[in-house]
């Protein structure tokens, strides 16, 4: 949120309000916007792989369009989820259900997207439907699950961790129960077109832009940050905290469902295991991107950069022909390191305030 606000001390607008230097020593160490640190991290990691590439493989890592497009495609689907999770974390919550929701909504959406040429459709009388039907049903299910998450958290006051953990287990159950574990396949051509080619990347970027604007420039965004900063204060300021939380979790559910539509369309099939562990990857992208798990801080551009770091590391390891097992281990290390960095940032900030 405070993306470039901290460094822009415009003298005209604060004229007449300028600091009395004796009473309020101007603070020199104005912190860099968090996104800039993440960007520097991204560039540094990419350069490391570039150098390693020339040493180990004898070729460039970055200057390879095919590799770059695969890299960004890889993170686009989870990136869509991460945009939703970012908003949830900014309110001070967490959403563990997104991965399972991908599984459940992919199955449900796909079952309404099947072509009539396929003999074993889930609903034989409901084939060749217009593409809007499976999309609407899929997103609707995602929103519904998100509303349940949000309502549980806002009105029963159970911790978000528990509410969304319940939804995570429940939704995975739904995904398996829906067709008794059978995959759902053979969508119509129009449904298959959704996730074709570079479309997932475009959808990811569109989602990111829409929600960046929403978080940065709308009442919705101000209230989301306010709740994460000081829930009680937000309530006293007249914000309907409960309703707002339901809205935020509903958006997260909708984006998980959108990811499900994209991935099932791209794979031309939906399976109950879809989206396994996506929730953790999405949270990791957000945290790497500077979204604070204690709420109130972070931004969509940060999360997009976090997703790119994720992508660079994954394809970097593939490029260096490192074992897939190492990738997971490194992922774990990165997640912990990102959280440690966040805690360290908060501590040094608290010290700065104490010194006043």
């Amino acid at each position: 949120m405070s993306s470039n606000t901290e460094i822009s001390s415009s003298p005209q607008t604060t004229a007449g309000l300028s600091t009395d230097k004796r009473s309020q020593p101007a603070r020199k160490s104005v912190s860099r916007p968090q996104e800039m640190n993440v960007l520097i991290g991204l560039v540094a990691i990419a350069l490391i792989f570039e150098i390693l590439g020339w040493i180990v493989q004898g070729e460039s890592f970055l200057f390879n369009t095919q590799r770059l497009s695969i890299m960004i495609l890889q993170v686009s689907v989870v990136g869509i989820i991460a945009v939703g999770v970012t908003q949830v974390i900014i309110t001070g919550g967490i959403d563990l259900s997104s991965g399972s929701l991908v599984g459940a909504t992919a199955m449900i959406a796909m079952s309404f997207a099947q072509a009539s040429t396929y003999a074993r459709a889930v609903y034989p009388s409901l084939t060749d439907l217009p593409v809007i039907v499976p999309i609407a049903i899929g997103l609707g299910c995602g929103i519904l699950a998100g509303v349940v998450n949000g309502a549980l958290i806002a009105y029963t006051k159970i911790p978000p961790f528990i509410a969304t953990l319940g939804m995570m287990v429940f939704a995975r159950g739904v995904a398996k129960w829906y067709t008794r574990g059978q995959p759902v396949s053979f969508p119509t051509d129009s449904y298959a077109a959704i996730g074709d080619g570079m479309n997932p990347v475009l959808i990811f970027l569109a989602v990111a832009i829409v929600f960046h604007v929403a978080l940065r420039y709308t009442v919705y965004g101000k209230h989301t940050y306010a709740i994460g900063s000081n829930e009680q204060g937000a309530r006293m300021s007249g914000i309907n905290v409960e309703r707002h939380l339901v809205l935020v979790y509903a958006i997260a559910g909708m984006l998980a469902a959108l990811a499900a539509v994209v991935i099932s369309s791209r794979n031309l099939t939906a399976q109950a295991s879809f989206g396994n562990m996506y929730e953790l990857d999405a949270i990791a992208m957000a945290v790497i991107g500077g979204v604070s798990l204690s709420g109130g801080r972070g931004s969509v551009p940060g999360t997009v950069l976090g997703a790119l770091i994720f992508g660079v590391i994954l394809s970097g390891f593939t490029f260096l022909r490192l074992d897939a097992y190492y990738q997971e281990m490194i992922k774990g290390v990165i997640i912990v390191a990102a959280v440690v960095a966040d805690i360290y940032r908060q501590r040094s900030r608290a010290k700065m305030i104490d010194k006043e």
């Binding site: 949120m1 405070s2 604060t14 309000l17 009395d20 101000k222 000081n230 007249g238």
Partner: protein
């Protein structure tokens, strides 16, 4: 002395010490938390343009009283009359819509938002309001009005677009007070506004309060600092053990008398060494 107080505080006999119209009155205001009687039968009157203080020991019911008036809590029984009309506040929003603003001890600020966003939190200036929650915020207008609000209170904030997290306790307190002062049309309540502040910052807050007096906006100040109370207000309402022990006029009483009433030890002269007189 005690008998006098009982008389002045009786609801049947309206206070004749005040000047002008009654802005706020409570009749038999009572709040119980389970079996705990935090506030019983409080009869309180505030006149137009008047600045009053609420003093009392810890647990005397000061904050409870403030919470009932600002709609943070709903009283167990009793009446609140605002501008002569009975009001029932279900939430702080109701109180704010009536023109009552409050500065709470926990400030109710969002540390991660900038100054204009905080001043307008919950009542943002909107562009395209039909977009509902997704209506755009008119940052330019909010910024201009924030500058104006801060100027009228005389508060100096170097960089409005910096998030509050980067500001000192005094600056944050000033933002909270500016917010209340710029929206309050009828009444401001401040619950211990200088409790956590340094000397200079306290002076700044006291200056804001004096400016409000010039603008004739009524104020209720909850404070532990009797010197501050004597410096700033016209009347002192003393709370003791969940009841209003009495009301004293600042220019006709002494610190000793106030302390006697706070502690309930009527003997005058025994508090000469009390360090907070």
């Amino acid at each position: 002395m005690q008998a006098d107080i009982a008389k002045t505080n009786s609801p049947e006999r309206p206070l004749n010490t005040g000047s002008g119209r009654v802005v706020l009155e409570t009749r038999g205001l009572t709040k119980h938390y389970g079996g705990v009687r935090a506030l019983s039968d409080a009869n309180f009157v505030l006149h137009e343009g008047e600045h009053v203080a609420i003093v009392g020991d810890n647990g005397a019911g000061k904050s409870t009283f403030v919470r009932q008036i600002t709609g943070v809590e709903v009283p167990t029984s009793g009446e609140i009359l605002f501008d002569g009309k009975p009001v029932k506040f279900e939430s702080p929003v109701d109180a704010r819509q009536t023109g009552i603003e409050a500065v709470f001890q926990n400030l109710a600020l969002a540390d991660d938002l900038d100054v204009p966003s905080n001043i307008f939190l919950g009542r943002e200036e909107k562009i395209l309001p039909w977009l509902g929650p997704f209506a755009f915020v008119n940052e330019k207008k909010m910024r201009e009005r924030s500058i104006a609000a801060l100027e009228t209170t005389g508060v100096k904030i170097p960089n409005l677009s910096s998030s509050l997290r980067h500001m000192s306790g005094g600056q944050r307190q000033c933002v909270a007070i500016s917010r209340a002062a710029s929206f309050a049309s009828k009444l401001i309540l401040m619950d211990e506004p200088t409790a956590a502040l340094g000397v200079q910052e306290t002076t700044q807050v006291e200056n804001i309060i004096r400016r409000l007096k010039q603008k004739r906006i009524p104020l209720i100040l909850v404070s532990h600092n009797l010197r501050q109370v004597f410096n700033l207000v016209d009347k002192i309402w003393v709370f003791r053990r969940g009841e209003i022990a009495g009301m004293l006029e600042a220019d006709k009483t002494t610190g000793n008398e106030v302390v006697s009433m706070i502690t309930g030890v009527a003997d005058s002269g025994v508090h000469e060494n009390a360090s907070y007189i």
